[in-house]
Amino acid sequence: MILYLLKRAAVFVLSAAVAGVLVFSFMAVLPGDPAEVALGVNATPEAVAELRKQFGTDRPAAAQFFDWFGGLATGDFGTSYVTSSPIGEQINDRLGVTAVLVGGGMLVALLIAVPAGTFAAVHHRNPLGVAISAFSQVGIAIPAFLAGILLVFVFAVQAQVLPSGGYVPLAEDPVEWFRGLLLPWLSLGLVQGAVLTRYVRSAVLDVMREDFLRTARAKGRGRMGALWRHGLRNASVPVVTVLGLQLATLLIGAVVVERVFVIPGLGDLLLNAVAGRDLLLVQGVVMVLVLAVLLINFLVDVAYAALDPRLRGAR
């Protein structure tokens, strides 16, 4: 068990390092010297060289990389070339907002998918079960931002019961915080929920064919009792895999949904950074997103071990 976790942790650290190199290299090969950008077209070569020295971009790439990557561990992402403010702080402010958005979206997806998928599997032969499958197929075809716009149209424009956008911090007003996030959560969660429903359905269907469910029934459990006690935990193993992949998708989806609902999260920060050519900020945000995805994968591996004793190795 401990060996397994150590291995997974090592994989996490190693992939983080590789990701760091990749993210840094991508930014380095992009055309556009930050010093030139900052000074504009009329700058003298001397001034540009001076600013480069100030930024530290005149040093060899490797030195710049280790400086930047080493800083990440302590939460130091460097200082923006454009706004001169520390990047770590900006990211930190936004990270919580995005985490809440993604977490809530996932929760919505789970609340839809687990009951609906299980129901569709148990009733896979009758019309209602088939209808759920068909409905989830439709859900898969809708992108999150479109779902968001549709939800805004119905609940904010037509019914006027929820705000169409904006974000109120939890500490300021919990009710408004919740009302503001409800539509973003739904637009992320509904679509992912539809996708997840299909996976839950097929996982539960697979488990229903397992011999040990028959054993459970031979012990005296009913169909549903056997499924509840012995089936769902077994079905959750493949679902956790998909959940990990979906969290990554949600993180990317959040970038767009934050735009639609004017939420000051990481996605919003990233898009603004791109628009403002704030390369170091872009680099920082992308790195945080990558780290988040890697962390999710690590947690998925930990969840496997918690769920399935066969992965824990020796007793």
Binding site: D211, F212, T215, A218, G220, R223, N234, D308
Partner: protein
């Protein structure tokens, strides 16, 4: 104690088991033999109320005074694991991989009303009774840490936990190594209450059972005491089955039953065996009845009593 009358199992239009009748007395050990596809497992599953979706049973089956066929699931599930239990063919997949063995044995007792603590203690006791070494340790193990033979013993412990009146074993040793098979059979013979033992292995049935039912094409074609059926088979199918299982002198051809078992629902009308039987003629187009006291057979041209 168990009486089955006119048991018929259907999947949609196809009739998979036809009009099967037999009895098992208290403490009696009865074998049910036949090739795969003969309907042995479906017969057993219909007694347990565990037929797959879309497959239905009709007829009458009673365990003492309780009906088993055509009664609601809520009543059947109360009997399963308590009054009757079943051990399946595949020990590798029959246990929940995510649950400790002891908990899986205890479950069948808590389900039928035993307090949790007592069920746990008794689970360890049962694991010892099926001769698993260091039962406390086995109780804490997960199924993947046990061998096939050990897992099948665990299944047997589960089946015996509530001291059922009837034990059904569906090819319990087929998936095991030969050396482990023998130990398992001895154990079953020792601990079983009334037993319905399903197998395609004639030697196995001879070593465990007192009486045997031979099934072919979803029908019982011959039944009687093991010794009589095996030494003086009457039905031509049983005769062929026995000939095919005998050791033959070196250099001679292995005797076989010609042809193969038709797919479900494709058996000929009349005697189900007539398309493979060397003695078949026009009379075999009519269904032969299972006749005879004690040693019964359903054949128009039975082998002579030797």
């Amino acid at each position: 104690m168990l009486s089955v009358e006119g048991l018929t199992v259907r999947a949609h239009a196809a009739e998979l088991v036809h009009d099967v009748s037999f009895r098992i007395g208290p403490g009696e050990r009865v074998g049910l033999i036949g090739e795969s596809g003969s309907g042995k497992s479906l017969t057993a599953l219909s007694l347990m109320g565990l037929l797959p979706e879309g497959v239905t049973a009709a007829g009458r089956a009673r365990l003492r005074d309780r009906d088993l066929v055509g009664v609601p699931e809520s009543r059947l599930k109360d009997l399963r694991g308590r009054a009757m239990s079943m051990v399946f063919q595949e020990p590798m997949t029959a246990l929940n991989p995510l649950m400790r063995v002891g908990a899986q044995v205890a479950e069948v007792m808590t389900l039928h009303g035993k307090p949790r603590e007592r069920a746990r203690a008794r689970a360890v006791e049962l694991l010892g009774r099926v001769r698993l070494p260091s039962p406390e340790q086995v109780a804490r193990a997960y199924p993947h840490q046990l061998s096939g033979g050990q897992r099948q013993r665990v299944m047997l412990a589960i089946a015996l936990a509530n001291e059922p009146e009837l034990l059904i074993c569906d090819e319990p040793t087929t998936a095991l190594d030969v050396t482990v098979q023998k130990q398992m059979l001895d154990l079953i013979a020792e601990v079983a209450p009334a037993l319905l033992f399903i197998t395609h292995d004639l030697a196995v049935v001879a070593s465990v059972c007192e009486r045997v039912l031979v099934m072919y094409g979803g029908r019982v074609v011959e039944s009687g005491p093991i010794r009589e059926v095996f030494t003086r088979p009457r039905h031509r199918y049983t005769e062929g089955l026995l000939a095919a299982s005998k050791l033959t002198p070196r250099g001679t051809r292995l005797p076989t039953i010609k042809g193969s078992v038709p797919p479900a629902g494709r058996f000929p009308g009349g005697c189900v065996f007539r398309n493979r039987c060397p003695h078949a003629d026009v009379t075999c187009e009519k269904v032969p009845a299972l006749t005879g006291e004690g040693h019964a057979h359903a054949c128009w041209h039975p082998a002579d009593r030797g």
